[in-house]
Amino acid sequence: MIPTSFEYVRAKNLSDALKAMGKNTKVIAGGHSLLPLLRFRLAQPDMLIDIGQLRELKGIKRSGGGLKIGAATTYRELLESKELKALYPLIAEVTEHIGDLQVRNAGTIGGGLAHADPAADMPPVMLVLDATFVLQSKTGKRSVPARKFFKGPFTTALKPNELLTEIQLPALPKGVGTAYASFEQAASGYALAGAVALIAIAKGLITRADLAFTGLGDAPFLAPAAAKLVATTGDASLIDQVAQAAVAGVEANDDVHAPAAYRLHLGRVAARRALTQALAQAQRPG
């Protein structure tokens, strides 16, 4: 469990970090995803650039009706933010699922998203909330919707010289409810199947319904079937139909922890539970 040798640089500021990024470098913040890869020698970078202490990449700021979250903000800092809890209780709820206390103390939201584990808890949240990611390199900055960011297992829209610097969350409509339901793999705590749901209602009818999965396939994905709930009251049988349709035809992972058929079944159950809970929350007065 000894990595290959590498140089280590602690970046003084964001611009330094971006300049240092190049061929066969790796960026490290909390290190919870990268260190195991280094120790197994699955990653053998020449240089590690530590951005974990960069103030420019930390913090949670109001922006319009939404929030901007610095990529190096730790899970612990997310959980301590009253604003986050008020505006996006879903993020707080999901963050509590991530790792254990020590992992949450050191791990960062941007690190986890850029790592793009196909069974991670946070990526489907970003899909449902329709977040935008700011990607920066020494030559410039671009915005990529979360919905176009996750490409496959541990694969994203990030180019080798780009750093995820900020997560932008748009304002949510009034009368919104959100929920996460998941089934954990007993050893890793990652999701065998997990579903995130968002439902907004106005005058008793659903105006927006989003559903995303993690753990089932190569990458988190949105289920278009959720749209069937729009303009309905979302009764139980329709929710079950949507949950079923959402996983229909999905080519699920099949491994030592769960065969594909079981994963799909769990996906359906998780979808139903998340949608039901999100709807109940949306219907709650006030």
Binding site: M1, I2, T4, S5, P36, F40, R41, F183, Q185, A186, A187, S188, Y190, L192, D255, V256, H257, A258, P259, A261, Y262, H265, L266, V269
Partner: protein
């Protein structure tokens, strides 16, 4: 002074362990220390052509690189030390580094010795190995089948042994039985996962010809012997020190190639050499547990009398026969087929089978969990078939408490027991009638509650040395202690056992302090150094308290007898006129005339005024060899609710009633039961080492191998009954493994009971949600 025996005082080991002040093998640092790293096979089964180490030898920091060819004439092969008789046991050579073939992923190919761990590790990547892949076979039943790939030319068909146990007339019993049930049972392969991985630090002194070896060992004297065999050094030239050992569960009993290789490197290079496993290496190389495929039949009458049990078992041994491996599925398994019951006819055939996997050896319970599991599972199937309450079936077949010592059909004799007492207590604690009523009510609401009951007994406290010899165990099974009184009145007990989490530093101090009427703080227990302690046989098989603790007791008694002689002399009284009162020998009738233990300690050690013919000093050595094994027993009951939509199992309550005789320290007993039960529930619910068809370990990290976490486990409610054993002076029985033995069938029976209305009769453990869900789908007639 109140007696310390029976007092739940805190473990004296804990402060140093939980404040990081304990010294483990990896903490040993010596001047000029070198570091070893092992190149391990990435193939499960392959012909080894060329191993090219030229580049590695030239790498920065590398001192030496050794291959199988380099060491094969200098080191002996790894011995198997349990040569079970009458089973045609075949133990093929197990080279310390592979010579012409590799037989599991992790089999050693080369050792690099370097100035740093990092340099040693880096050099492994520079070694080129040319393999010719051969077919792998990972399942013991498949490996025993015709046409399976063969591992060893000396072992046709991969069958290491065919061992039989028989008592009564099983053929007749089955022919005449009104009821028969049968089941195929798979015991999932387990990874022992001691918190501290294995390590060895060897330092050879060419001047004295003495090798000192720090080893993560449960049994330093056995390691000394095994090292002697492998290194060709005589035993008296080897000192084994097992410093703090962070758990073992059986995995630190065997002798491993690594220990011999590191010793060899130190002898060759004239510098100390250390090797420490990482977790991935630990999962690939350190022994695994269980791995049985069993075909089991049970027969009986329509009203619940069990008349026969028959088994055919394929026990996976892995690529080579590890130190104790042949004894586990035979002596420690087959002989326990009667459990706590009066089963008159028993027949078992056990095939030990080589497979292209990591060697399998003793893992907490070692053979007995597999026996208890198959028996308890079959009894539930039988009870269901005849429509009887599983508790009633058990009660009907339990050995009556007035029949001890009781000889079962397999030929072994149980020391003592009151199985009904433990059963009654457990039923009362769980309120059995009430939970059955709750279950009936829940079923009407389509909720699936289940109740699992296990009545068990197990063989431990290993054991009489004469029996050890008769069953082919390559050593004795007595144990030993020196009790030495220092002039200050402090007493130290030097013991042959090697506690590594079981708390005997505390409990043995309690025994000694009681004997002398001194504060427990004045007693210290020393273990783990073959130069300081008398010959012992280690800590495993729940033997240390029953056997080594008895040696401590006997040695302390001898010291006290001598102290009495000295007291009589100093008091100018006859020994017959002395009595022991509150830590003093006093003259009967003259309570003012007395000699305290402290006085006698000083006087014996300075020897200014000894009785004629009595030697100076105050110490005694005792070797205790028990007349029989001990057989603890008990009843465990668990209630569960199964979510049939997802297959998730929720444990509602877990009650453990165990009888290990009188308890020296009830808190430590409770801790052992808690740990054992949780370890068993891990096996029952989620732990599973899985190989793919090519022999690659798919669960090679803790991200994939599900050791139970506190948040996943229930509260364990414990209680006990007390039935002393007549075979040792303390009356104690072992309790280190009972939890692991009893909890596995208890949980599985509870889940199968919950799902009975759906027609589920059996699910192979671990009962992961995926497996439970698949079983439900199958019972419903669907495809999983």
């Amino acid at each position: 002074m109140a007696t310390l025996f029976g007092s739940g005082i805190k473990r004296r080991e804990d402060p140093r362990l939980i404040t990081g002040k304990a010294t483990y093998t990896d903490d040993v640092k010596l001047p000029g220390l070198l570091y070893a790293a092992m190149l391990r096979s990435t193939y499960a089964h392959a012909k080894l052509n060329q191993v090219d180490v030229a580049k590695a030898r030239k790498a920065a920091g590398v001192v030496a690189v050794y291959t199988g060819a380099d060491v094969k004439d200098k080191l002996n092969t790894v011995p198997c030390a349990w040569n079970v008789p009458n089973c045609d046991l075949k133990v093929p050579p197990h080279p310390v580094l592979a010579v012409d073939k590799v037989r599991y992923v992790g089999d050693g190919i080369a050792m690099v010795v370097a100035e740093s761990r990092a340099a040693a590790r880096d050099a492994l990547d520079l070694i080129d190995v040319d393999y010719d892949a051969l077919d792998a076979v990972v399942d013991p039943e498949k490996a025993a089948a015709k046409g399976a790939p063969e591992l060893h030319k000396e072992v046709p068909g991969n069958i290491a042994f065919t061992w039989k146990v028989a008592g009564g007339d099983t053929g007749k019993a089955f022919a005449e039985a009104a009821v028969r049930v049968e089941q195929r049972i798979v015991h999932n392969r387990l990874l022992p996962t001691a918190m501290e991985p294995r390590a060895t630090c060897a330092s050879y002194n060419a001047g004295t010809g003495q090798l000192t070896c720090w080893i993560t060992s449960q049994n330093p004297h056995i390691h000394r012997f095994l090292l002697s065999v492998m290194t060709k050094l005589p035993e008296h030239r080897i000192r084994v020190i097992a410093p703090e050992v962070g758990g073992g569960f059986g995995s630190k009993i065997p002798g491993y190639p690594d220990e011999a290789l590191v010793s060899f490197a130190s002898m060759e290079l004239g510098r100390p050499v250390k090797w420490t496993e990482d977790r991935s290496e630990n999962y690939k190389v350190t022994i695994h547990g269980r791995d049985h495929v069993e075909y089991v039949e049970l027969c009986g009458t329509k009203d619940g009398t069990i008349t026969g049990l028959r088994t055919r078992v394929y026990a996976g041994l892995g690529g080579y026969a590890s130190t104790a491996a042949p004894g586990i599925p035979t002596i420690l398994h087959g002989l326990m087929y009667s459990g706590p019951y009066t089963i008159p006819n028993i027949e078992g055939t056990i095939y030990g089978v080589y497979t292209t996997t990591t060697p399998v050896d003793a893992y907490r319970g070692a053979g007995r969990p597999e026996a208890t599991f198959l028996l308890e599972r079959m009894i539930d199937l039988y009870a269901r078939q005849i429509g009887m309450d599983p508790v009633d079936v058990r009660r009907k077949n339990l050995i009556p408490k007035d029949k001890f010592p009781y000889t079962v059909a397999t030929g072994i004799t149980y020391d003592s027991g009151n199985y009904q007492g433990a059963l009654d207590k457990a039923l009362q604690l769980i309120d059995y009638k009430k939970v059955r009523a709750e279950q009936a009510k829940a079923r009407k609401e389509k909720r699936y509650l289940g109740i699992g009951v296990t009545t068990y007994c197990e063989i431990c406290g290993l054991g009489p040395s004469q029996v050890a010899g008769a069953v082919g165990f390559g050593g004795g099974l007595y144990d030993s202690a020196i009790v030495r009184v220092y002039p200050t009145g402090v007493v130290r007990a030097y013991i042959g056992g090697k506690p590594h989490g079981q708390g005997e530093e505390t409990t043995f101090a309690q025994i000694v302090a009681d004997e002398f009427g001194i504060p427990v703080e004045n007693v210290e227990v020393v273990a783990g150094d073959t130069e300081a302690t008398p010959q012992g046989w280690g800590t495993y098989g729940s033997r240390t308290t029953a056997v080594c603790g008895s040696a401590v007791k006997v040695a302390a008694q001898r010291v006290k007898e001598k102290a009495k002689k000295i007291a009589a002399h100093l008091l100018e009284a006859s020994e017959a006129d002395l009595e022991w009162k509150e830590g003093k020998f006093v003259v009967k009738g003259s309570p003012d005339k007395g000699k305290s233990f402290g006085d006698l300690a000083l006087m014996a050690n300075v020897a200014w005024n000894m009785p004629p013919g009595v030697e100076p000093g105050l110490e005694a050595t005792a070797f205790f060899d028990p007349s029989n094994f001990v057989y603890p027993f008990g009843t465990h009951i668990c209630t569960v609710e199964v979510d049939v939509e997802t297959g998730e199992v929720k444990i509602l309550r877990y009650v453990a009633v165990d009888d290990c005789g009188p308890q020296i320290n009830p808190m430590i007993v409770e801790g052992q039961v808690h740990g054992g039960v949780i370890q068993g529930l891990g096996e029952a619910l989620q732990e599973m080492a899985v190989y793919d068809e090519d022999g690659q370990l798919l669960t090679g990290t803790m991200m994939d191998y599900a050791v139970p976490k506190a948040s996943q486990m229930p509260k364990v409610e414990t209680a006990h009954t007390v039935t002393p054993s007549p075979v040792n002076p303390l009356g104690v029985k072992g309790v280190g493994e009972t939890g692991t033995i009893a909890s596995v069938p208890t949980l599985v029976n509870a889940v199968c009971d919950a799902l009975a209305p759906l027609g589920v009769t059996h699910i192979d453990k671990p009962l992961t949600p995926a497996r439970v869900w698949a079983a439900i789908q199958q019972a419903k007639g669907g495809t999983p």
